[in-house]
Amino acid sequence: MIESEIIKLIGAIMVLLGSIMAIISAYGLISLPDVYTRSHAGTKSSTLAVLLTLTGVFIYFLAAEHYLSIRLVLGIVFLYLTAPVAGHLICRAAYVSGIDIKKEITEDEIHENEYQTYRE
């Protein structure tokens, strides 16, 4: 019994970690200077946060109810699959719609190559 309690606790702690991650990611979302960096914070770390949480809950259910949730696994897989695509699409959309990158952050590499034709 103790064992399962410990596993539950592990799950809970993973959830907590996830939540802290979420806060950090949200902080990034607020404080970072331009779309691209913000989207970085938004998509990458948030995804990590939610994956942590889901895994935590998955473990928790496993321990508490001996319930192996396929759907939860499916959800995790789905998130893994789609989150990067979503992030990619938004950044591209932002770029295409002509939002400038804060100059001090980085150089616009794409501009010079791939999308040049479009811009003109």
Binding site: H88, Y115, Y118
Partner: protein, 140 residues
Amino acid sequence: MRENDVILQTVSKVAVFIILTFGMYLFLSGHHNPGGGFIGGLTLSSAVILLYIAFDVESVNKGIPVDFKLVAAAGVLISVLSGTGALLFGADFLSQSFAYFDLPLLGKTELTTVVLFEAGVALAVVGVVVTILINISEDV
């Protein structure tokens, strides 16, 4: 610009498959778990929406050559007629019945007429949602 949606399209194909499976699951499990005709239908149609977003109307329609208006109509007819079917057995309109059968391999299985009704609902939902979306997109 040559639009490059390869990433989106590739992922979408997988995602659509997952969503369709999930939608079917929701539809079928509705009797004992959250889900049912509506939700199943809505989820299925969200899969179709994803397809439309990732690809385009014409190519999707080539793949699924159905008039979704008629799908919707068929759905409504199925659900209404499933209610009317009860009349044939001298029951009240929309009476549903269920029974348990011991089927080989599957064991105790529940069969219920609600499934037919819900199937109609799901079909109608898919038909309507897709009709609306396609028509707005096709409008210039």
